[in-house]
Symmetry: none
Subunit: 213 residues, 4 copies
DNA sequence: TATGAATGAGAGTTCATTCAT
DNA sequence: AATGAATGAACTCTCATTCAT
């Protein structure tokens, strides 16, 4: 009873934190495209607003606490899409090597399906420094993903599916190799991304495989 | 003695490109450090000038034709250092797998020795788009390096030292994996870069190795 | 509602060119005064902003696509005023010599009425070279005016109202003579511009008149 | 005796005021060309130095007290050349109308002969305001010339060679008409300047001629 | 919710001029 | 007499953000 007369304003603000308004989603979508196309450095509010069909940058500032906030949402959105796309494909396999290959291949299949999402993610993450508060949060999000992946590799090692190696380094090697394809795809539109995926999968399959005796 | 009545536009700075005054070198060095520390996006002339102990940004414009020119020099300097460092180490080996391992390990040893150079290189190259004329020149320089490396891998394949794989993709996978370590090293000062080098070398040795029969 | 996903470059300022916000008009007015007072070379955004009571030069950049855009608007505004002032006065006459005299006299009457407009016009046009794209457009506008005027002179010749002469040269002679008065008026505030107008009218009346036989 | 041990430095400075060093002449020549080609606004020391084959702008500052000083010398040089070219041609005539015609035609013949001099003069004079001390001096120089020319016209009037008119206005009308041709010639390289001269001469002959009775 | 004008800081660049050599 | 590095101010322009409506 007592709490029920909290102002509408407050409610709206709170709910917005969780429920993305349509405008927010639209702006995030525009941001992803602009970042992918012109790079983080030139992805100004002005450009994003124009791309989204908005008449002013004030609109963006109104819906987001600041540039950090928008970028966090961009990263979150891409991770959400990536998770939804990759997880079922990976989990369709039960063997460790199969999951590893699928991780790589579905990651690059995602690049084919959503050509702007991963480039935007790479742009943002590689241009963000631990400068402002809210930033580290979603840098951590990807580090968390890497840690989870490393843990899976270690499970595979314990299960005898993989040889001994530094899982941390292996994960980052995969990360780097995949991101490089993402970058190349932007510069070379004719690049056969799917073929790159198969090659990378082969590379890391061999890199993790137990040596034949 | 005769006045150069034509071609006013092309500047006398051309010859200066080769003379390399001490100031230019100092500014390039400051630029490398600033870029490595705060990233390409925040590496403004003001910051670089301050870091170099210069009183104004005009000083940089005086010595360089523009930001492009400075960045080109940054890239050239890093490539020069990298070449001088890595080439003799690689050429100390005569076998293909040894050269491959050494390529990776000396690359990361370079990162230990000159902790700012490679981060600066990665920052610049990943933030440059084919925008302003003279840029593509040194984007092409690194592509050339990749092409050369790929050719070496193909030689190894023809010599029977490596299995069959797409040399292009392999090179970029290495590139990406190494650059990822470069990026990590900036964020995690305690990272054992040398160990990462050994691991990566192992990874790509196995990835390229002929399958035991 | 649909976002304009293409043509990011072309700005929304296009429509603003016609809407003519009050601010734009105010800035143009300030620009005209500043240019007339200190000359094109010293008419910086800073000076214009100060004159217009604006807090920053960014304000001008906000309302105009660039210095070119502002200058184009300055020229357009002056031409608009000149047209509105001179045309009815000229068309009040039906004879060719009368129109010629009125062209000159109303042009200088305009200088008396709006003492900054013509000086600003002359400053801008004489300091613009075919440099930056959109400029040539309104340089052409004045050339068009000269061409129209020359055509009228030729009509007069065909109608037997004028002697034979090179209409092109005559028009430019008038142009130059009038602009010279505009320049003098700026340097000599006590100059009797109206009297100058009468004298110029007499000069060009005699210069175009058929020789008495 | 007492005065004879004034320092060499002082002497050199004094003599330089009157005796133009070769360097000064070279710089003035370069300045004239640059101003004519790119306009006063873009005729920076840097551009002039480059055009003159000098390695730095310091050279110009060394030889001239400042930009004003250089510009004054530019004006003086052009006036010197103009005087030497036009005076004998004008004085070859003894009748007032002939001198008037020749004044105009030789002025434009000068433009054909020295295509950069008059454009430079017009550029400088129309972009100089009564700002800094030494400037008004040579603005006055041309005003003096106009005054002299006006006086000649009045002589002609007293001698019955010309009709009654405001000599001041007439002189400036000629000035303006001629300068307009100078300006046009820069924009329209194919313009027949000599023909323009003949037309202008005719125009002002008729404008000053006594009405046939 | 939404708008778009306003702000002020900071960007790269050019400028005329100074000064030690 | 000449050099060219250095200076500091000014330039146009872009940026993220704020605010009154």
């Amino acid at each position: 009873m007592q709490a029920s007369h909290s102002s509408d304003k407050q409610d709206a603000a709170v709910s917005r934190t969780f429920t993305e308004s349509a405008r927010r989603a639209q702006i995030v979508a525009a941001a992803i495209e602009v970042i992918a196309e012109v790079g983080y450095g030139k992805a100004s509010f002005a450009r994003i607003a124009r791309h989204a069909g908005l008449s002013s940058t004030g609109m963006i500032s109104y819906h987001f606490a600041g540039k950090d906030d928008l970028m966090r949402e961009v990263v979150a959105e891409v991770l959400r899409v990536a998770e939804a796309y990759m997880r079922p494909r990976i989990e369709a396999h039960s063997d460790f090597p199969g999951r590893l290959r699928t991780h790589i291949e579905s990651n690059l299949a995602l690049l084919v399906e959503y050509p702007k999402h991963l480039p935007a993610l790479v742009e943002v993450l590689s241009n963000i420094r631990g400068e402002s508060a809210g930033m580290s949060e979603f840098v951590g999000a990807t580090e968390e993903m890497n840690r989870v992946l490393a843990e899976r590799l270690r499970e595979g090692q314990r299960a005898g599916a993989f040889r001994e190696f530094d899982a941390e380094v292996m994960v980052h090697a995969m990360r780097g190799a995949i991101d490089e394809v993402v970058g190349r795809a932007a510069r070379e539109p004719d690049l056969d991304v799917t073929a790159c995926g198969r090659e990378l999968a082969e590379i890391f399959d061999r890199a993790t495989r137990k040596t034949a005796m």
